[in-house]
């Protein structure tokens, strides 16, 4: 199923990006090549021989609405710079200017360093009525998905490498727990509770103890500890696996218990966002997570019986 979802995500992104870009093209959302009327207000007055001059850029609501065909647009004044080169006059919006859409998108797409467009006519006085032509904007979404793919691939590596410290710490501690007999004691103590869910794990197997630790860490909202513990539990379960690359029943159960999440305490991230409000949500989260855990466990048990998901035995 993961194959279909994964492929589906990629194909769907292409379809949607293409649809959105073609719509932009057909409707000419960004009015490529058409000049937009603009008023440029000089701080003092226009100097013909100055290369850079700080100006105010005024766009009227009616002009914007008519230009982009969106009657809800309102006008505003933004800071900018008038650049004079031998090639002509260009207006550059200041980097901190927060523009209205679709200007914001135009700027993001065209400005290599910042947002600019060519101006028509010759300035005079302190206020100059002119028109600005931006560079053409095309394939916004196609560029966006390509950029996102690279970004997220990098994020994946950062995330994985960020786990090294926590993983190392927990793997070390767990090795001590194993060597000292602590883990085995935990297994004997908790297996009556946990083994019914993992009937295929042999009695007294260390995996059971690690599963208990992983689930406890989850319950207490300790996500940082839960991940290494869960990975270690998976490694123990993998030693029981007869195949190399196919999940076993206990693995699927452990995974689902983790994705359904068994939390008594809300996760740290949510506490950080919600602040004191989180106290009110204590029970709603507890009830929801408890119910979804039951549903998840039932789903694993029932789906596991389907022919297509039956365990591979060699």
């Amino acid at each position: 199923m993961l194959n279909y979802i994964w492929g589906g995500l990629i194909v769907l992104s292409l379809v949607f990006a293409l649809t959105s870009d073609i719509t932009d093209f057909v409707q000419d959302t960004y009015r490529n090549g058409t000049p937009l009327p603009v008023t440029i207000i000089f701080e003092e007055e226009y100097h013909a021989d100055t290369r850079r001059q700080y100006v105010e850029v005024q766009l009227s609501g009616t002009d914007l609405a008519a230009h982009y065909g969106d009657s809800t647009m309102t006008g505003n004044t933004w800071p900018g710079v008038l650049l004079q080169t031998s090639a002509g006059r260009e207006l550059r919006f200041a980097e901190e200017a927060s523009l209205t859409e679709p200007l914001q998108t135009i700027c993001q797409e065209t400005g290599q360093e910042d947002c600019r467009g060519a101006l028509q006519g010759i300035p005079a006085g302190t206020e100059w009525q002119t028109a600005i032509t931006f560079r053409p904007v095309r394939w916004v979404k196609m560029n966006a998905i390509a950029g996102a793919a690279l970004d997220f691939a990098r994020t994946a590596v950062t995330l994985a490498l960020g786990l090294i410290g926590g993983l190392g710490l927990w793997m070390g501690l767990l090795k001590i727990a194993e060597a000292s007999g602590m883990l085995q004691a935990l297994v004997r103590f908790t297996q009556p509770l946990i083994r019914p869910l993992f009937p295929k794990v042999p009695k007294d197997h260390p995996a059971l103890g690690l599963i208990v630790l992983n689930l406890s860490a989850n319950m207490l909202g300790m996500g940082n500890a839960a991940t290494p513990l869960g990975i270690k539990a998976m490694q123990e379960l993998q030693t029981l696996n007869e195949t190399e690359d196919t999940a076993t029943d206990p693995m699927v159960m452990l995974l689902t218990m983790n994705t359904a999440s068994v939390q008594i305490l809300p996760p740290v991230t949510l506490v950080a966002i919600m602040g004191l409000q989180i106290n009110q949500l204590f029970f709603s989260i507890l009830i929801t997570t408890g119910l979804s855990l039951i549903v998840g466990i039932t789903a694993v048990k029932l789906l596991g019986r389907l022919k297509r998901y039956r365990e591979v035995t060699s």
């Binding site: 793997m171 090795k175 001590i176 196919t246 994705t259 939390q263």
Partner: protein
């Protein structure tokens, strides 16, 4: 409720230090060469982290592309009438879609909703309950199965998604029941 919570707060604050000190201490009592054994185990941390990289890249880049393509908005519109039938407000649909895909994305959605509806709003309560009661399913699959090189996930994805969908619906009703 407050006593339970207080206890849990203390428990979660004390458990970690207790383990950090308790495991090596108990090991020393049982005459384990704690330092040597620790280093031996910790070696694996790097190996595991590197093992999961390909799995994470695969999952995250597909999700990243999907989010950037604007498909999420389309899905929200598509689901609006369907979930409306079972009484789920359209405001919380984005949360339901994003939650299994990305953790940071769902944090962003909760923050957006707080600024849009206010902290006390019932929609924020629903979204926060969704956030708190489920996990980033695809990330968990990539990390846990990636660490042991499991590629054929069998019913892990459907089971996880069933639990997620149920949690999204349950969150709405539980919040309505408690606060509505």
């Amino acid at each position: 409720m407050n006593i339970v919570q207080l206890f849990l707060d203390y428990a979660s604050a004390l458990v970690l230090p207790a383990i950090l000190v308790g495991f090596p201490l108990y090991g020393m009592i049982r005459k384990v060469r704690v330092y040597e054994v620790f280093v031996d185990g910790a070696k694996e941390g790097f190996h595991v982290a590197v093992m999961i990289i390909p799995y994470l890249i695969a999952i995250l880049f597909a999700i990243g592309m999907f989010r950037a393509s604007g498909a999420m908005d389309f899905l929200t519109d598509l689901l609006r009438p369907v979930v409306g039938l079972i009484g789920i407000p359209a405001e919380v649909i984005p949360m339901g879609i994003v939650r299994p895909l990305t953790g940071s994305g769902s944090v962003g959605i909760v923050l957006d909703m707080i600024s849009q509806f206010g902290e006390d709003s019932i929609f924020v309560k629903m979204a926060a309950t969704m956030f708190g009661s489920t996990e980033t399913t695809f990330y968990v699959i990539a990390v846990y199965f990636g660490a042991v090189n499991i590629r054929k996930t069998r019913h892990a994805v459907p089971a996880g998604l069933i639990a997620d969908i149920f949690a999204m619906i349950a969150a709405v009703y539980v919040v309505l029941f408690l606060f509505g």
